[in-house]
């Protein structure tokens, strides 16, 4: 089947699909008239039951925590897949031959190096306050992974003595994933239902409130930061993290 025939067939099929979808969405509720009961039920119930005002965090980590466990595992598997695909290339290349890059300018190194610390603090803030403000484990984790990328762009090499540095990233990611799974099983053990909120709830609005929700946020933040940093490090192939001599 030549390329031209394939494109024409695609256009026809997509036109039919588009027409069907337009007819389908015309029957939805008009934009702005949300009908369903679940949002209203959550708005009424969550502040009393979980002592938190962040409905999205409560939904992600508590009421629909099982979906989040599945998404965590997708993240973990995708990171493992990236490592498996790109690690093979590195072994085939034999000795580590980091590609030569020109040294970044002084301004880039200064600003980049100075910003790594505040970005890590920002990531920790977004993760820990996930049950009070917008944010949470997923957003804060990506910011944390980006801090490592900033260190590379600033030309700093992160060197570790004993532990192989890729190994450190792998264990960070595993700790996060295992932490969330442990939270789920802890709910099973302590309260009879997986992912049940079994830690005492505090008063709403305080940092230590809402039971397992901030703990779940921290576990997810660690795992997402580890996964993003691991994927980026695998793509960069040792230019960032020096193997121990």
């Amino acid at each position: 089947m030549s390329r031209r025939v394939r494109c024409v067939m695609a256009l026809v099929a997509l036109a039919v699909l588009g027409a069907t979808l337009v007819v389908a969405v015309a029957d939805l509720e008009p934009f702005g008239h949300y009908p369903g009961p679940y949002g209203d039920v959550l708005a009424k119930v969550v502040p009393g039951e979980r002592h938190t005002g962040q409905l999205v965090a409560a939904t992600v980590l508590d009421y629909r925590g099982f979906d989040t466990l599945g998404e965590e595992l997708i993240l973990f598997t995708a990171a493992c897949g990236c490592v498996a695909l790109l690690r093979l290339r590195r072994r085939e290349r034999g000795e580590a031959s980091a590609p030569e890059r020109p040294a970044p300018s002084f301004a880039a190194r200064a600003v980049g190096g100075a910003l790594v610390g505040p970005v890590v603090v920002l990531a920790a803030y977004v993760v820990i306050h996930g049950h009070l403000t917008p944010g949470g484990g997923f957003s804060g984790g990506v910011i944390g992974g980006g801090a490592l990328l900033l260190a590379y762009a600033a030309g700093q090499n992160v060197r570790l003595r004993r532990v192989g540095s890729i190994g450190m990233l792998e264990s960070v990611e595993a700790v996060g994933a295992g932490g969330f799974a442990a939270l789920a099983i802890g709910g099973l053990i302590a309260a009879g239902a997986t992912l049940q909120n079994f830690v005492p709830l505090g008063t709403s609005g305080m940092l230590l409130s809402a039971g397992t929700i901030p703990i779940g946020n921290v576990a997810i933040g660690i795992e997402v930061a580890g996964a993003v940093a691991l994927i980026v490090a695998e793509f960069l192939e040792q230019a960032l993290l020096q193997e121990p001599a």
């Binding site: 394939r6 979808l21 369903g36 679940y38 005002g53 409905l55 992600v60 979906d67 990236c82 984790g141």
Partner: protein, 114 residues
């Protein structure tokens, strides 16, 4: 006018799939897939929107204000981060395909042909 949000979601899906089908470069294909994924985010959030309502976070607003649906936001939030990681996996596959076949053109990856 009130179906504009849904029509934009349908258009993004059609455009993304067309980009995937007619792509000549594996990396271009992965980015077009990302556009198709964005259509689902737009559709979900458009369904959960309530006119005149606030964001579903009772930080400093009284608990009786109407809020938009938090369930669709929870679904979209996890999906955004996870689909970026899956795109990274697809890019790693593209890099390996280039190494194996010497080309990133999907039309030329013909190892399955006899």
């Amino acid at each position: 006018m009130s179906v504009l949000a849904y029509l934009v979601a349908v258009w993004l899906l059609i455009a993304g799939i067309y980009g995937v089908v007619t792509s000549r470069h594996l990396v271009h294909l992965v980015i077009c897939l990302g556009v198709a994924q964005a259509s689902t985010y737009v559709l979900l959030l458009a369904i959960g929107y309530r006119s005149g309502a606030q964001a579903p976070i009772f930080g400093d607003i009284p608990q009786s204000t109407p809020v938009v649906d938090p369930v669709v936001q929870a679904l979209t939030l996890t999906d955004v981060v996870v689909s970026a990681t899956v795109s990274a996996l697809l890019l790693a596959l593209a890099v390996q395909a280039h190494k194996r076949f010497g080309s990133v053109d999907p039309d030329e990856l013909n190892a399955l042909r006899g």
